[in-house]
Symmetry: C2
Subunit: 162 residues, 2 copies
């Protein structure tokens, strides 16, 4: 491994690019429309509209009940390493939150796949804005058992509210 | 939503960039070292070495038992929309697999956070190559219950093997 200084130098020279494979059709037109904070439910129906060039990449996706969608927070401006999430009144490091204002503004949503119609994936559980660029879709293969999960400050914030 | 043709035109003009927030220290030096295929276990210990500029973003991350790591398949060459995964002898669409040869070569790994030492996150469950650039870290907050999960061709491939 390179040292911390050479790691920093190396990182400065590395730049990766990505382009949309499709766009989200969502009921949420503005950030304020998206349910946020403790107990927020993401049950909205939406459509992942994949560009026709990429249709062969969807083969056999119908067999999976849940998909991991990676997408670009294309309407986020800059980043903040520490911030106050909607679910707490205390600041937390950005990598301990789902804040859109991240160094690399890549979002992740787990959706339930309801059906596929050609290049359109009809899904439940979108929390993206309408028109959000999709970067990747992966099958959701397995879960961490709930009894093995610790949820840090989020569990604390929940217990302070009850 | 734009039509499919204007969607394609819009996508061509959209390009997003990302830069490493750190690098993975992993026992795997070559692709052939990484366990693959059905029943492959990812229990290797590794370190997520975050660049010191981003250290404030790690505040409170220690409270989470599991993290979602997004990273760049920086040694993948090009992409293939349909391919044969190591876990099956039939081809599947790239978005129904974890293939590194994706249109946007972004990898995702769920790791268990064992401890943090400053900018170093000691984790279990790495499947990345040594030196892999890290793009983002998010807390793993909840799981899909196993009884709600369908695993498509992977479940079929497993049942054909037994």
């Amino acid at each position: 491994m390179p040292s911390n200084i050479s790691m920093g130098m190396e990182a400065l020279s590395l730049m990766f690019t990505s382009q949309p494979i499709g766009f989200v059709s969502s009921p949420y037109k503005n950030t304020s429309d998206v349910p946020k904070g403790l107990g927020a439910k993401h049950e909205a129906d939406g459509v992942l509209k994949i560009l026709s060039d990429f249709e062969p990449g969807l083969a056999d996706i119908e067999g999976f009940s849940h998909l991991i969608v990676l997408w670009e927070f294309d309407r986020a401006n800059g980043f903040e390493l520490s911030g106050m999430p909607p679910s707490d009144n205390r600041p937390h490091g950005v990598f301990a939150t789902r804040s859109p204002r991240r160094p690399n503004p890549i979002g992740l949503t787990i959706v339930e796949l309801r059906c596929r119609e050609g290049t359109e994936l009809h899904v439940r559980g979108v929390d993206m804005l309408d028109g959000t660029p999709i970067l990747d879709i992966k099958p959701y293969l397995s879960s961490i058992p709930p009894e093995k999960l610790r949820r840090g400050w989020l569990a604390d914030a929940e217990s302070r509210q009850t």
